[in-house]
């Protein structure tokens, strides 16, 4: 135990399963949890849609809500839930709180884009067409409403988190780096309390396109993350969701009388040269670097379903020790930048509640008994970058 241990004192979760730490624990700890799916809107793709959200609960001003596209609104909302959960909505505390957001962006105006694409069919002067349409049809505020660092910007405006504001980009890797950097800053004394997390809103054709340009999406009926066959598409089923965490040094949390859900004892990340076929070894290396206790552990896996990465993770965790895998994307869908923060949150909830999750897919995930002392959380990128953390009792 050290004064600078990194403890988790607030969790803000949103997914198709609902909202809040308690709700997620309740749903996921009940055997036989069923996914919430929408297989119609984006056929042939299935997605896990956003639940109904009363945005006003966390974003009081309608004006603020209007300045954000859904992705920013979702992240700002989840950040507020995390801050409430940590009892951290205190002016002085927020004014010194550091923030790292793992962000995507690019929630474009589909109607404007479509109008341009349609008009382009009969035009040869396409560059001119772009100027014509974009200058007249783009909403001036759209740029900011979908710009990557403006999720953090909106969190500052709405929740008054103003110590510092940094935005990382790069799919799952952004989430890994956000957690890793936040934890390292606290552990080294560079920061005492941080808000870290990410959001992903998949219900937009461009968000699906970002995967499907390289054929990553699963195209047949829903299956668990471990069961998606290669002839059913690329294996990824996406979801809308967000995960934010309030991280504090142990000393800081104790000084303000906060109990922690759990502690992050170590984070490791990597950039495997996957084309060289070494992903299994690379994942094993990342997991080894965490210094996990020599016992059977639950692994809250952020596996995306992408065939190569998901297969490699499964192989690596089987060989690196005995892990009881829990692939939560089975039930939430892949949350991209939010995937790693989400994995950490679920790991912390299992520690906090003193019980492992039941298998989300009993055919492919082995049972585990007893209160977990330590839980592995992983996020192996569907295309690049790997990360894992060991979450332990605070």
């Amino acid at each position: 135990m050290s004064a600078r241990d990194v403890v988790i004192t607030g969790i803000g979760l949103v997914s198709s399963l609902g909202e809040g730490a308690e709700r997620h624990w309740h749903v996921l700890s009940t055997p036989g949890a069923k996914p919430v799916l929408d297989a119609e809107r984006f056929q042939p793709y299935t997605i896990h849609p956003l639940p109904e959200i009363d945005w006003g609960l966390q974003i009081a001003k309608r004006g603020d809500q209007r300045q954000m596209e859904t992705w920013q609104r979702l992240g700002t909302y989840a950040a507020g839930v995390a801050l409430d959960d940590a009892d951290a909505k205190d002016e002085a505390l927020l004014a010194t709180m550091d923030m790292v957001v793992a962000a995507g962006g690019g929630e474009r105006d589909s109607a404007v884009d479509q109008a341009i694409l349609d008009a382009a069919a009969s035009r040869n002067d396409r560059d001119l067409l772009l100027n014509e349409k974009l200058t007249t049809e783009l909403r001036p505020t759209l740029f900011l409403a979908q710009l990557s660092n403006l999720l953090a910007g909106n969190i500052s405006i709405v929740h008054k988190v103003t110590g510092s504001s940094r935005t990382f980009m790069g799919e799952e890797g952004a989430g890994v780096s956000a957690i890793e950097t936040a934890a390292a800053r606290i552990r080294s004394g560079q920061s005492t309390h941080m808000l870290v997390g990410g959001a992903f809103q998949t219900e937009h054709p461009d968000m699906l396109l970002g995967y499907e340009l390289d054929g990553f999406l699963h195209r047949k009926r829903w299956k668990s993350v471990w069961q998606r066959a290669a002839n059913d598409g690329g294996g990824v089923i996406t979801g809308s969701g967000a995960a934010f965490l309030v991280l504090e040094s142990r000393e800081h949390a104790e000084a303000r009388g906060r109990n922690a859900y759990a502690a992050i004892s170590s984070v490791a990340s990597g950039r495997a040269r996957r084309s060289e076929g070494n992903l299994v070894e690379a994942i094993s290396g990342v997991v080894r670097a965490l210094g996990a206790p020599d016992q059977r552990l639950m692994a809250v896996s952020g596996a995306s379903g992408a065939h190569a990465a998901t297969g490699a993770e499964r192989n690596a965790l089987q060989s690196a020790g005995e892990f009881a895998l829990r692939g939560f994307s089975t039930l939430t869908g892949h949350l991209k930048e939010a995937q790693f923060p989400f994995a950490i949150a679920l790991a912390a909830l299992a520690i906090h509640n003193g019980a492992p999750y039941p298998a989300f897919d009993a055919e492919n995930e082995s049972p585990l008994e007893g209160a977990p002392e330590a839980v592995l959380a992983t996020s192996i990128g569907y295309h690049r970058f790997e990360g894992a953390a060991l979450v332990v009792k605070a």
Partner: protein
């Protein structure tokens, strides 16, 4: 022997290699010559047609192989060129840097040309949302896919330079370049590495990017004489000039630099930041977040405001920024602010967005090392409300031992770097 730890017992951070590309040219020497000659890199846009646009000028980098290949390709090439110069200059093997990489780069969406190409092969009988998706899955396009992934550029750079670990791609809007440096400094201070590569690169001056900024009324529309349009601190300033460029810095513990006899180009003394909760594009009217960022940087550096010799301004040439920057600096430096030289590199290179903080850090280091302050050009009609020594129009020889460089961005981003010529 200088001390290799600072006032907080942390490793002192030296800069041992720099590289830069702007519309003024490629490489430190070409840029420095142009910058100190007061030459502007701003020109009429030729990359795309400018009909219907209110702004028809920019500081695009038009002389690279990727200049017409889209934002993603150009941003990579800009980053690569700057990093090659920096890493080689620092005396490291350009294929085996073996330290972490921090890349400030723009959030780039699928290029319109790529989007249109996809649509050309789409099945128009499908529902609208499905057309691009169907055409994507029927003919996978690795290159377009990579351009849509935010982590792709850093991944390629990591391969190219043999950097260590998962590279971090970041965006703090127009403060990004400074944030990349700050992240590198912090990693070395934590003892994670003896060196880090910080890059800011931005090749995203597409028609859509220009239109987006234009719709926010952020850009100058003084198109008639492009080289005169960027006029920070002038009365008739009317917006920034969109530009491209890149800079790379090899950050290294002073101890490591000295032990291997590497060139020490300057010292990163401290950094500070403070988020603004006032508005998405406007600063808090009292300038308090910018003030707090400068104070935080000075405290981090263990220095007082009296010890700063020169300010490398954010100086975008927007009515709002220059006023706010003046207000915040005057609050920090008091009466002395009227006499501290302050100049804006953006008067010549325009606003290079994600790259600006890194480019301006490199120019700040050169300013100290060479004892020459680059001017603020186009300073013909001073804003009477902004009383500053902007080093008007002509470079100035001066002993500069310490610099602060400001970077402010949309979304409440405020970052300040403190640099020194020599270790203490």
């Amino acid at each position: 022997m200088p001390s290799t730890t600072d006032h907080r017992g942390r490793p002192v951070i030296a800069v041992t290699g720099v590289g830069v590309v702007t519309s003024l040219g490629q490489g430190v020497e070409d840029n420095w010559t142009a910058l100190t000659s007061g030459r502007s890199g701003i020109h009429p846009i030729t990359r795309f047609p400018t009909e219907h646009l209110n702004t028809t000028i920019s500081g695009t980098v038009d002389f690279l192989a990727s200049s017409d290949k889209g934002a993603s390709a150009l941003t990579y090439e800009l980053a690569e060129i700057a990093a090659l110069e920096a890493v080689a200059g620092a005396g490291y093997d350009v294929g085996d840097f073996a330290g972490p990489l921090f890349l400030a780069s723009p959030p780039v969406e699928l290029d319109w040309h790529e989007r249109l190409a996809l649509y050309d092969s789409a099945d128009l009988d499908l529902p609208v949302y499905e057309r691009l998706l169907a055409s994507a899955r029927e003919q996978l396009r690795q290159e377009i896919f990579e351009a849509s992934q935010f982590g792709a550029i850093a991944d390629r750079l990591a391969d190219r330079f043999g950097t260590r670990g998962l590279p971090i791609t970041l965006s703090t809007a127009c403060a990004s370049g400074a944030t990349a440096i700050q992240l590198g400094i912090e990693a070395i201070q934590r003892g994670e590495s003896e060196r880090a590569l910080a890059i800011g690169a931005d090749g995203s001056a597409t028609a859509e990017a220009l239109i987006r900024f234009s719709l926010l009324s952020a850009l100058s529309t003084q198109n008639e004489r492009p080289e005169k349009a960027s006029k920070p601190f002038s009365k008739d300033r009317d917006g920034f000039v969109l530009a491209e460029g890149s800079a790379a810095l090899v950050l290294e513990s002073l101890e490591s630099a000295l032990s291997r006899g590497a060139p020490v180009l300057g010292i990163m003394r401290g950094c500070g930041e403070k988020a603004d909760d006032f508005h998405r594009t406007r600063s808090k009217p009292d300038g308090s977040p910018a003030i707090a960022a400068v104070h935080a940087a000075l405290a981090d550096a263990g220095m007082s405001a009296d010890e700063i010799d020169y300010v490398n301004a954010h100086g975008t040439s927007t009515p709002e920024n220059d006023k706010m920057e003046h207000l915040s600096l005057s609050t920090v430096f008091g009466e002395r602010m009227k006499r501290i030289p302050i100049s804006s590199n953006k008067s010549m290179i325009g606003h290079t967005l994600s790259a600006a903080g890194a480019i301006e850090a490199v120019f700040s280091l050169l300013t100290m090392a060479r004892g020459v302050i680059p001017p603020t050009i186009n300073y013909d009609h001073p804003d009477p409300a902004i009383e500053l020594d902007v080093v008007p129009n002509v470079k100035r020889e001066a002993e500069v031992g310490t610099v602060i460089s400001n970077s402010f961005g949309f979304g409440g981003q405020n970052t300040c770097l403190v640099m020194a010529r020599e270790p203490v």
